[in-house]
Point group: C2
Chain length 237, copies 2
């Protein structure tokens, strides 16, 4: 029993620690983000403050604050006296965001080529190597998360925190859109090949070439994303 007590006390202490550093608003924010990205809340759907407050066992205050942050982040849209709606991205919006994302990738490549260390280079090479082996056997399930980690690592190595934050925000927003098309992992080989080119440019410390290659890689993603979609999809608005 003392063990269970200790367990409970530990968990209570942890919970209190979380509450001390992360207000309910923050917790609700992450939960809402998760629900939107998971598709539990679908684009265009309205978020019922009262119901959500009840389900999360909190008052409407934190819910509203979290929604205001989500609006600024671009994940939801708020119409006065009507409510907050999960953002519905039009293809044009997605294309615009892809262009921005590509520019940011290019910037990351340009910066990284100038500052990357040998250790970092080895880390990236190792990742690319692993991804190539996964691509060879078609292991999509393992390829995808490593691919995400690869790009995160690049941004971390580039050392521009705001750039990383913005890329994360854009990726979240694009994920809203990407979700529709069950992204069949077409082109694992091509993706892996592009990664190799990126590595090559970095290893040559060629900033301009890195920028170019990084942007091209991002644009491949754009084409794949937009190509698998109905060109005119106004969602019945």
């Amino acid at each position: 029993m003392s063990e269970q007590n200790s367990d409970i006390r530990t968990r209570v202490a942890e919970t209190l620690e979380i509450l001390r550093t992360h207000s309910l608003t923050t917790i609700v924010l992450q939960e809402l983000e998760r629900m939107i990205l998971n598709g539990e809340l679908k684009p265009g759907e309205r978020i019922n403050e009262k119901a959500l407050a009840a389900s999360q066992l909190v008052s409407r205050g934190p819910i509203r604050e979290a929604c205001r942050r989500l609006e600024q982040a671009g994940l939801v849209e708020i119409i006065v006296n009507r409510g907050v709606f999960v953002r519905k991205l039009k293809p044009k919006d997605a294309a615009d965001l892809c262009d921005i994302r590509a520019s940011m990738s290019a910037l990351a490549g340009r910066i990284l080529a100038a500052v990357i260390t040998d250790n970092q280079m080895a880390t990236l090479k190792d990742m690319v190597g692993r991804m190539e082996r996964m691509a060879a056997v078609g292991d999509i399930g393992a390829y995808y998360p490593l691919n995400v980690e690869f790009h995160d690592t690049i941004l971390r190595f580039a050392g521009n925190e705001r750039l990383a934050a913005m890329c994360a925000a854009i990726d979240k927003e694009l994920y809203l859109f990407r979700r529709r098309s069950l992204h069949v992992g077409i082109g694992l080989d091509r993706s892996a090949a592009e990664h190799r080119k990126m590595i090559a440019a970095l290893e040559a410390r060629d900033a301009e070439r890195a920028a170019q290659v990084f942007a091209e890689h991002a644009n491949t993603g754009k084409e794949r994303l937009l190509g698998a979609l109905p060109e005119a999809d106004d969602g019945g608005a």
Copy 2:
């Protein structure tokens, strides 16, 4: 008296209309943004919710919601149980933001070179011409707003709304930083010359050259911004 009555009624109607479309949160948000950008609230300063609520004649709810949006926008920083503080940009942050801003300028130039119409071209040319005349006589007061309008127009013509919104957000954040150095309008001539180069690249419909020239123009601003500052400024934190 009937005139005054009409006046009052008009203003009441306008006020009601504003309240119907912009909640108090929105109004407070704009007011806070103005206060921060004006320097009425200085970087590092704490925003007192209670006092602000009293001065704005609203409750703390809308204030808090506005602050959460400002946090997501990067203008303030919130520490749990301590309050919300106007963001204090370190030179590194400013430099990072400048790099991002330059990449976005490049993207705007690349897009615009491909889609600009003759009418739009004429509009931009006219602006540049006016700015050159102002630069010639050193009329900083008139040059600055027109310069802002010039860049806004470019972003509008480029047609990527998210890009424009992000640039606006970054500019606001940089303004937080820029405010310290009383930006003496050094280099009006150089700025005007760069504008002419930008126009030339656009007129040639040369996307890559436009991207390059636009980025260089933004980087000029970066150097001017960072050059006029103490390299290590931790603000006594």
